[in-house]
């Protein structure tokens, strides 16, 4: 991308400073995940029976859990799981949604069939769909990604389908077809490059909602294995101590909300700078 392009991408954040906060939270998450061993004050797995269920103080900023593990350290390490699930679900949604949506737009008959199937899947609430898939696949990190991704694959496919239909009718696509271009040429040279911006918007929203989905699965004990630090797992483990040690719910809960909210802000800001013809494709999101 040229310099102009980068400047264009920064304008939405200048125009909407609150979205900058979102961007900072995302950055903080990446840093926390990458440098967890250096940033975390304690080993997140280290059990300390003497200091169990300690409220936040100067030694343990976020307090400790029922095994005496440091909540702050566990919360920092959890950023890894959050990033992994978020990125995984975005990847899953795009890797399925792009080919299905684009091919459906280019081949109306195939599209008719595929879009009916997507509509059927869309009729299920995404958490219900995720639960059903986990029951079939069994709980694991990879299966969490697939189960949550399946729900966002449908909305992503719908959006890509709508955008690709519009792009297919563009005059420059006509011009290209009049030169004898094939499907592959149209997709690579004309359709995908014009989908990048709207897909970035969609990716932000999917990433945000994936956090809620992952937390729900973890909380129900159907997500990441319980020994892996994740905000959902932290909530699940501490729910019996809600009155004695509310900080155990407060901090991971806050992280989940903060992450989802921030990514939504980023998505909103990016959406606002989209081509107006593309913007209404996101009507149902956010």
């Amino acid at each position: 991308m040229n310099r102009d392009g980068i400047a264009l991408w920064l304008t939405p954040f200048v125009a909407r400073p609150i979205a900058l906060i979102g961007l900072c939270v995302l950055l903080a998450m990446v840093i926390a995940a990458a440098f967890a061993p250096w940033l975390a004050p304690y080993n997140p797995y280290a059990i300390d029976p003497i200091s169990r269920l300690m409220p936040p103080d100067a030694v343990h900023w976020f307090g400790t859990d029922q095994f005496g593990r440091d909540t702050l350290s566990r919360a920092i390490y959890s950023a890894r799981m959050a990033l992994l699930i978020g990125a995984g679900v975005v990847f899953f949604a795009l890797i399925t949604g792009i080919p299905i949506g684009v091919l459906s737009a280019l081949f109306p008959r195939l599209g008719h069939v595929l879009m009916r199937m997507v509509d059927v899947l869309m009729a299920f609430p995404s958490l219900l769909l995720a639960l059903g898939l986990i029951v079939i696949l069994g709980p694991s990190v990879a299966n969490s990604i697939i189960a949550i991704g399946a729900g966002y694959m449908t909305t992503t496919t719908r959006i890509i389908y709508g955008l690709a239909l519009r792009l297919r009718a563009e005059t420059y696509v006509e011009a290209s077809r009049s030169m004898g271009s094939g499907t592959w040429w149209l997709v690579i040279k004309h359709i995908l490059p014009n989908l990048i911006s709207p897909l970035l918007v969609q990716a932000s929203f999917v990433f945000a909602f994936a956090q809620l989905g992952a937390a729900s699965l973890d909380f129900l004990g159907l997500g990441a294995p319980p020994d892996i630090p994740s905000w959902g797992n932290m909530l699940a483990e501490s729910r019996t101590f809600i009155t004695r040690a509310p900080w155990l719910l407060f901090f991971p809960g806050m992280m989940i909300v903060l992450t989802a909210f921030s990514l939504n802000l980023v998505g909103d800001a990016l959406r606002d700078r989209l081509d107006p013809r593309f913007r209404n494709a996101f009507g149902g999101e956010g």
């Binding site: 009049s178 030169m179 004898g180 490059p193």
Partner: protein
């Protein structure tokens, strides 16, 4: 003139459209015959929706006609495949109306201009490609450095020049120009028209020039075909259309052209009414509902294009 380079005979193209749940066949082009000689500019004029663009899109195979034939240098365009089709793609090139919509905002001008060459693998190597792009941009009056720019950096006139460059890069024989200036500011229309006429001279292009503006058409065409509701109603040399139009519809079109001197305006010849619906075409002459010369025969029998006195021009009208 010599043997036509492009010949369209009895072309019929329809679209299936849905209105209130029912499917209809919309006859956008309903039996059009045209021939274009080498080096000639044939104007096609007619009001919005009469099927001008559809004729052009049929020729470059963007829509599949239901009937009729299109021949390029004697070869069947509609049945062409393989290398014959490739040859036609490179020789029959279209310039589109809206220069804002016809260039992909995410592709550089150079990539857009070279597209026909890239798709059909006509460049020997990268250097050859760059040279051809630079030459073509220069030919349309743009700096070669425009190759690296993107459409949003260009004005409307510059974009349309790029659109023309894209059309002429493969050294085509025929340009189908679909209202190439009507989306441009009046001030740049003349420049772009001049460029096209200049290119026609230098490159020996034949041109199908589509417009709804009979004034523009009259200036630059050798011959003019007037279309009404999917059919050609009058075909003559440009002077014959502009100065001595015969068909009642052409006369109405001419009368609607703003005249600088009000006393020259033809009184009472101004159009009345809209054309009838294309989904529900009248039985006889499609112009009957608006025609001042209408007679009973017009309502039952479709007038065929035939030579009429005194200059043997072609017109489709019972009462001339």
């Amino acid at each position: 003139m010599s043997e036509p380079i492009l010949q369209v005979s009895d072309l019929k193209t329809s679209f299936s459209v849905k209105r209130s749940g029912r499917k209809y066949s919309l006859k956008a082009v309903d039996g059009v015959s045209l021939s274009l000689s080498a080096g000639e500019v044939l104007g096609i004029v007619g009001e919005s929706g009469c099927g001008k663009t559809t004729v052009g899109r049929s020729i470059v195979r963007l829509v599949q006609p239901d009937g009729g034939a299109i021949r390029f240098k004697g070869a069947d365009v509609l049945a062409a495949s393989g290398s014959a089709l490739r040859d036609m793609r490179l020789n029959l090139r279209m310039v589109f109306q809206d220069p804002y919509a016809s260039l992909n905002p995410r592709r550089s001008i150079g990539d857009s201009v070279a597209e026909a060459g890239d798709i059909n693998k006509v460049f020997k190597n990268r250097a050859d490609r760059a040279t051809r792009i630079a030459e073509t941009l220069t030919a349309v009056g743009l700096e070669p450095s425009f190759a690296a720019r993107y459409p949003h950096e260009l004005s409307g006139g510059q974009r349309q020049r790029a659109g023309i460059a894209r059309a002429i890069l493969p050294a085509p024989a025929v340009i189908i120009a679909d209202e190439p200036v009507s989306a441009l500011d009046v001030s740049v229309q003349a420049q772009v028209l001049n460029l096209m006429m200049d290119l026609r001279e230098r490159l020996g292009l034949s041109m199908l020039f589509i417009s709804h503006d009979i004034g523009v058409i009259g200036q630059i065409s050798d011959r003019v075909a007037v279309m009404y509701m999917g059919r050609v109603v009058e075909l003559s040399d440009a002077r014959g259309i502009v100065d001595r139009s015969a068909h009642p519809y052409t006369r109405a079109l001419m009368a609607a052209v703003p005249k600088p001197d009000p006393s020259q305006r033809i009184a009472g010849a101004i159009e009345t009414g809209e054309p009838p619906s294309q989904l529900n075409r009248p039985v006889g002459c499609a112009y009957a509902a608006r025609c001042p010369l209408v007679s009973d025969r017009c309502r039952v029998e479709v007038p065929e294009l035939r030579p009429i006195a005194p200059d043997n021009r072609l017109a489709a009208c019972h009462n001339l």
